[in-house]
Amino acid sequence: MVQTTVVGNYPRIGDTSEEQKLRRAIARRDRGEIDEAAVREVEREVVVDVLREQIRAGVDIVSDGQVGWYDSQSHLARRLAGIEIGGLVRYFDTNTYYRQPVVKGPVEWREPILVDDWRYAQGQSSVPVKAILTGPVTLASLALDLHYGKRRALALDFARALSMEVRALANAGATHVQVDEPILTRRPEDLALVRETLDRIAQERGSAELILFTYFGDVAKIYRDLLELPADVIGLDLVQGERTWSSIATCGAAKPLVLGVVDARNTLREDPRKLAARVRELRDAVDLDRSYLSPSNGLEFLPRTRAREKLEILATASRLLGEAA
């Protein structure tokens, strides 16, 4: 029956003192009291906690919570050639901010960025850990380009760089690789560019399952074409992207989907029975046995306790779907 997964980030701190160890460690590093290696150690402890919370809740494909990421844009960009990191910019329609990558020269991949962290997380997990990358078109759109002058050229070079990363992840043994392109919910006209860039990335995935995820809105206008993209699975935000539900029901899905049905941006607790009933309505349109339920986007926008509850709601909805089948 339908499996469960997450989209990416997870609250790295909670409200208990134990859950705030990473915040304390970073503050101490900023004051010069401990070094970077000591922060990394705490980061890894938190990764283990985050994996444990997901597995305990019953999530089938987990993530490392992107615990070591400063934000979705600068984490990858800062380790590519040609990029410096600039000021704070609001991230889509959230009340969170990212350090804006400033493109000052040709973007090139230099070395593995995520591989060590992925390997560590997978070593600590009894279930598959998904490797997650911000997509080239979103990176190119949110960066400040002082070099290329054309977004397409920048996106293609980001794609070339990220395809090297995907190859390194696949070689390291990652079985699930996800590329996030939230920009598609804002600029559906970017679909062609996403296809072009994803083509390159898909070539390097080896035997890993490639997931393309869009969130922060709907993709109703481009739903049919989205399914044609060279990804094995398509992830959809069905909360802020409520309008995509009817596209799925009408057009069906030739590919497995990740159905982002649990609201990752509001604390309101969904009724898992209602969620299960709503997803069940899609059973003729979607191959639910090969698809997943997930939150609508990363869970970091919620307090830790509520993020945990959302995982439980997800797992319960999946179980209820299974029982009814």
């Binding site: 609250p11 790295r12 701190i13 909670g14 409200d15 915040r23 970073i26 503050a27 900023d30 400063y70 934000d71 000021g87 704070l88 910019v89 609001r90 329609d93 009340n95 969170t96 901010y97 990212y98 350090r99 509001n266 604390t267 309101l268 970091e300 926008f301 919620l302 307090p303 830790r304 306790t305 509520r306």
Partner: protein, 323 residues
Amino acid sequence: MSALRTTSVGSFPKPDYLVRARAKASRGELSAERLRELEEKATREWIDFQEAIGIDILVDGEQYRGDMATYFAESIEGTEISGLVRSYGNRYYKKPIIVGELRRRGPISVDWFRFAQGLTDKPVKGMITGPYTMMDWSFDEHYGSREDAAMAFADLLHEEARDLEAAGAKIIQVDEPALATRSDELPLVVRAVGAVTKGLDAKTILHTCYGNYQDIYGYFNRLPVEQLDLEMSNSGLDLLDRFKREPLQKEIAFGVVDVHNHVVEPEPVVRERIEKALTIFDPQKLYIDPDCGLKTRTVDEAKAKLRVIVDATRAAKADHGFG
């Protein structure tokens, strides 16, 4: 009327003794009365400092506030406060959760306004966290509609504005840092802010920051306030051409120092920003201030940034022969 007046956006950093006191109070180791005494002391110090360096329009420095949205929510019926969520980097904050009909329990910020205004003859701004931002920064478990939640906040914040006015506020600022979050919701921002400011005699200001101003520019003149207070040095200087082509029909408070950077801008840099502003705006309608609240800087950095604003403005006034 005078030209090129100086002001601030709202918050100032809390001195160490107050930071420690707040931590103690949150653990129940310090009484509310003692905390209040220290908040008053810090407020007095900031008012004294602003007067001493010669700022024209003062703020109380928000020494008694944690987060600007939760501070208001704590006095509003129908809300709870969430656990910590991340803002960016290693910064976290608590958000309001709307769990029922929103109603003001009583005046929220009036008491502090009265205290601060009582310390100085210069005007002190009354400060309200705007209805759109209150909505956008809250989790909503009750209304299920962003519009309904924003308008519910607007109604009770209008009562707050009325009370500030009655307490003597001549200037009321509505803070809407979330204004530029969703450009399709700008009509809602206009409506909600309008519901707060309608019928007020006080001068009204709207402050916003972190914006992609190009997208929202067309709404600037529609915002129902007399003055816009904009972050200009961090993200807005590239807007100046747009201001030339489509003049602003309001007063502007022009942010000339970046509040997210430890480095204190040298006076010539600030001076250049003021000169740029003067090429576009009528000096009578141009106010000079920091980009945003200074609370994330250290006390020394904040003071240095305020000093350079005053010094650069003074030099500009002297050169241009403004009174």
